[in-house]
């Protein structure tokens, strides 16, 4: 078939488009390449994995490590208790997640406000971020979790899980605020100009034009922080709260078999993997976020 320019024009009588022989060849080639790469990666994974297992299992200390860390019976035994502890981690991470997003976004908006009236707000937000981003989370947990309940303030809860959660929110919201701020500032000024030109106020511009674009752009790094939060929720175990890690510790105490820790680790990984895949998916879908442009 001649591939002249006339072949682009759809004649009413012409049959609907079907791929040419050339295109079919290309597709067959691409498919064979895909199969080949899948085969190669499977083989290399098996070889590397096999090698690692072989090296580890033939080491001198392996039998001992196997019984202390990878005892199947102990794993089955401790699983329900560790899982029950994990439920606390999940609740903490969900509630903290919401609080972190709200607080982080508020801080980010405070930091991007212009004008002298907002100076105190800007200053406050900047000081907050500097303070809580600088303090190690573990330190914050100990200070709040052990300090505040010890004050025995009337009407203030002494729940360790609560104060642990507060510490996590304080620390994470400082990070998340910076992520949001980067997103807000990455929206091109021409977008604000276009919005203001339509008569939208500063607040309306933020709400309808800047934030929707900013939030979409920072979704992948935010999800990354969420994955990190999922595992950092385990840090509250230092307060003695019975989360997955603390539950595992209690289990190990009876016979010095550390398998429950491995169980907790596996459970944490199972918790974070779906979030990680979701992040990849969102990042991929957002190829379009564009919004460049000039004034």
């Amino acid at each position: 078939m001649p591939l002249g320019p006339s072949s682009h024009r759809a004649e009413p009588s012409e049959p609907p488009w079907s791929p040419s022989q050339t295109e079919l060849d290309r597709r067959a080639f691409r498919q064979s390449r895909t199969k080949r790469s899948a085969f190669i990666s499977a083989i290399s994974t098996l070889v590397v994995g096999g090698l690692v297992i072989w090296l580890v299992t033939r080491s001198a200390g392996w039998p001992r490590v196997q019984t202390t860390f990878f005892s199947w019976d102990k794993a089955v035994d401790s699983f329900p208790v560790v899982l029950k502890g994990l439920w606390l981690n999940i609740r903490i991470m969900l509630i903290c997640g919401v609080a972190i997003v709200v607080l982080g976004l508020t801080l980010a908006i405070m930091r991007t406000l212009r004008g002298p009236i907002f100076f105190p707000l800007r200053l406050l937000a900047t000081a907050y971020v500097d303070l809580f981003r600088g303090l190690p989370l573990l330190l914050l947990l100990l200070l709040l979790g052990l300090g505040v309940p010890a004050l025995r303030l009337p009407g203030v809860t002494i729940s360790l899980a609560f104060w642990g959660g507060v510490a996590i929110v304080l620390s994470y919201s400082a990070y998340v605020a910076e992520v949001f701020r980067a997103g807000i500032e990455s929206v091109h000024p021409s977008q604000r100009a276009a919005s203001r030109a339509l008569g939208l106020s500063h607040g309306q511009t933020l709400r309808h034009v800047v934030l929707p674009q900013a939030v979409r752009r920072v979704m992948p790094p935010l999800m990354n922080d969420f994955v990190s939060l999922q595992k950092d929720s385990g840090l509250i175990s230092v307060l003695g709260v019975t989360d997955a890690i603390q539950a595992a510790r209690i289990e190990t105490a009876s016979d010095f078999n550390y398998t429950p820790y491995v169980v907790a680790g596996v459970l944490f990984i199972c918790l974070t993997i779906p979030t990680a895949r979701l992040t990849d998916h969102i990042a991929k879908k957002q190829g379009w976020h564009g919004a460049g442009g000039t004034l």
């Binding site: 339509l198 008569g199 309808h208 034009v209 674009q213 919004a291 442009g293």
Partner: protein
């Protein structure tokens, strides 16, 4: 310098000055536009056309001078800029559509949020506008999925939907192929015939000649020559204007 303002002018710019750092982009620019008139700004790239339009829309803070809209100085910081802007429409050289909103939502944003028009009403008005620019079938598309010319027409619909008193158009045809240029220019000609007051910057001398009542030639931030197209384009008085026009012609 205080020239008397033409009492009937819808927009009257007097002694406008704007600089970016040491770069004086607009220098003592004065301009009057009567209701229903069309003013074309011509001039080389970088001569300050976009900046002048942005100053009129209060997107830039001027260094000096007066911008009177219906007799009121809008460059005055005590004036509510949002309210002033909602009386004007501007179409940017780079369209500046909102990429996260559909075409229809781009057009309905201002009626709904600024003018508090109910959603159904705003959508029907916007659809009428989109139909007018020939894009009713693209209402649900995202701006990024449209061609440059289509985006440009959405931007015009977005600027027009609030029935502005004054329409500012910044090189609305620069990104279009000749066929689309014709389409957009026809649209503008219709608007002009309906009595819309417009200021536009353009490199289309033919359009300036046919549609504009006044042509202003900007050079390095100054209006060197202004007057009816026949005079400015047909019989320019300034050497610089002649030079610019002859380069375009060749």
């Amino acid at each position: 310098m205080s020239l008397p303002t033409t009492p009937t002018a819808l927009l009257s710019v007097r002694g406008l000055r704007k600089s970016f750092g040491a770069n004086v982009v607009l220098d003592d620019v004065s301009l009057d536009i009567e209701p229903g008139q069309c003013v074309a700004l011509i001039g080389a790239s970088g001569s300050g056309k976009s900046t002048l339009l942005r100053c009129i829309n209060l997107l830039e803070q001027v260094d000096d001078g007066v911008i009177e809209l219906a007799g009121r100085d809008i460059a005055d910081p005590r004036v509510d800029a949002d309210q002033v802007r909602s009386r004007m429409g501007i179409v940017f050289q780079a369209y500046n559509l909102f990429p996260h909103l559909s075409v229809l939502d781009n057009v309905t944003l201002a009626p709904r949020r600024v003018h508090k028009v109910a959603r159904a009403e705003a959508e029907s008005r916007s659809m009428t506008m989109l139909d007018r620019v020939g894009l009713a079938d693209k209402a649900r598309a995202r701006p990024d999925d449209l061609s440059g010319g289509q985006q440009q027409r959405v931007a015009i619909a977005r600027a027009m939907v609030n029935s502005p008193e004054l329409l500012l158009l910044d090189e609305v045809t620069s990104a279009l192929d000749p066929e689309l240029v014709g389409e957009v220019l026809d649209l503008l000609r219709d608007l002009r015939a309906e009595g819309m007051t417009m200021i536009l910057s353009t490199h289309e001398m033919g359009f300036a000649r046919n549609v504009a009542d006044t042509v202003c030639f900007l050079d390095a931030g100054r209006i060197l020559e202004a007057g009816p197209p026949a005079e400015v384009l047909g019989d320019p008085q300034q050497e610089r204007t002649r030079q610019f026009l002859s380069r375009l012609a060749s």
